[in-house]
Amino acid sequence: MSVNAWIIVGDQPTVGNLITVARSLGGPVGAVVAGPRSVAETVAASGVDRVVWCRAPGDVPAEACAPAVADVVAADPPRVVLSGRNPSERVLLGAAAARLGAAVVTGARSVAIDGGDVIVVNAVFGDIADETVAVSGPVALLLDGGPVPPTAGGSAPIEEVSAAPLPLKVIETRMHDFDEVDLNSAHRVIGVGRGLKAKEDLAMMEELAQALEAEVACSRPVAEGLNWMGKDRYIGSSGAHIAPQLYLTVGISGQLQHMVGVTGAETIVAINSDPNAAVFQQTDYGLVGDLYQLVPAIIAALK
């Protein structure tokens, strides 16, 4: 059976969205898994037509199987090859794209097949424009992987290939103590920026979050650089894209790279001490002032 779309899977079976997109294109869908066998089993039960699992020694990261993944994909060349955005998935997709000579498209809003072309609408230049491209030949798509797919009836057989891994070895894995979060499922989100003076002040943000029944997220420098929060909590062009009922920014200047992550929010509120901050051009309600006075007042008003 020759596949129309290959889905590349790494250490996690979080590929629900990829399966939906691949299915929408019609034709058989294959999945090539570079992670643990259990991931291949989850994916095999999700309604794909073919699963290839790259068996590798236990101490190598998924990236080490990049040539094996590219081999599998190139042996049954697809119209479209898809992966999620995790670092290791990007590496595997890059290897497959290089082998196929495929065009690479990220940030796709829609994908369709029109005769000999694959038509993709994707957000470009920090999401300031939507671009439509027509690709003749294979396309590599980087997309939000989505949740673990639900099980469909039956299970595809798992074919096994022995991967000759690249010379990479895992020496140590340390999980940090940040709570993981799925910002996409939150109805209300607070975005914390560099206007916050100290890490201890996050306690005040947590209190506000409780009063609002919201999750706390942040701008990129708060997660990278300051390291006050996990990287899965930063919002923006290279971080999370969310569309909650309410997005309340606190001490965020409103740079394009951040705000493109919340264009879908129903209502946006901004608190910032600088009346000229760009964020006030992009909000429904703006409060110019000291967040250390305004946030406690809002907490009190909500109680």
Binding site: E63, P87, R99, V104, D130, V139, T267, D284
Partner: protein, 258 residues
């Protein structure tokens, strides 16, 4: 031993606007070294110093990427020399096309043991050029790299994974995409700016490079300004925080946001 650090000379979309017909107006934007590339340069310089390696900057793009100002901006950040492929046909090149050109240049440079790249470009931010580049070369790639020690051929690489960090050992050549916080780039001083003018700038012709043909041809058929939700843009008087807070909460309740 040679370390290559790739970089991009481009504009920040923050300074661009999209016209009603969907075309992008870059006329007010000033090109520069892409935001996260100085992080890669800093990281690469430290590795090159530790290993006694030559550090080569590599860029490919449309007209302008090879101007003296662009070359100097890169060279002032600790590179020993730069290799530039300046060809107008690369202005709108796709990620995989650009990666294939960079791979061909790396092969041409020769004896390269390690390639360091930035996290993502400020304009496209696809995070895919380093991974396709590695695929073209048949080398391992690791993204979100936060720290590197050791020598090319025997590297210890720390990288962010969802929910934590992982330490990897890599033998042989590799492509490492640095995370945005892998190093704090220093601002070049006057001495470095002056020295930059005297460092070698090598130019490679695109047509003279052995770039494999792409099976895919990508054509841009349209650009449009995305439809954005209209925002109320209402400022709430904050002279009394308690009154402001009450007004906000009332407005949010009315809007169904609470």
């Amino acid at each position: 031993m040679r370390i290559v650090v790739t970089y991009k000379w481009t504009c920040d979309p923050e300074e661009a606007t999209v016209r009603a017909d969907g075309t992008v107006d870059w006329s007010r934007a000033k090109p520069g070294i892409s935001t996260y590339d100085p992080v890669a340069m800093e990281l690469a310089r430290r590795l090159a110093d530790a290993a006694g390696a030559e550090l080569i900057g590599l860029t490919a793009g449309g007209k302008g990427v090879g101007t003296p100002i662009a070359a100097k901006a890169a060279l002032s950040r600790g590179l020993d020399r730069v290799v530039i492929i300046e060809d107008e046909s690369l202005r709108e090149a796709g990620r995989s096309e650009l990666a294939a050109v960079l791979a061909a240049a790396v092969r041409r440079i020769g004896d390269v043991d390690l390639i360091i790249t930035g996290d993502s470009s400020v304009d496209v931010a696809a995070k895919m050029v380093p991974t396709v580049l590695a695929g073209e070369l048949g080398w391992p790639a690791v993204a979100e790299v936060t720290a590197v020690t050791g020598q090319a051929g025997a590297l210890r690489v720390e990288r962010a994974i969802p929910g934590g960090v992982q330490v990897l050992e890599i033998s042989g050549p590799a492509v490492l995409a640095a995370s945005a916080d892998a190093a704090v780039p220093h601002v070049p001083g006057m001495k470095e700016l002056l020295a930059a003018g005297k460092k070698p700038v090598d130019r490679l012709e695109l047509t003279a490079l052995d770039v494999p043909a792409r099976s895919a041809v990508m054509t841009v058929t349209g650009r449009a300004r995305p439809e954005r939700k209209a925002r109320k843009g209402q400022l709430i008087d904050t002279s009394d925080p308690a009154t402001a807070a009450a007004e906000l909460v009332t407005a949010l309740r009315a809007a169904g946001a609470l």
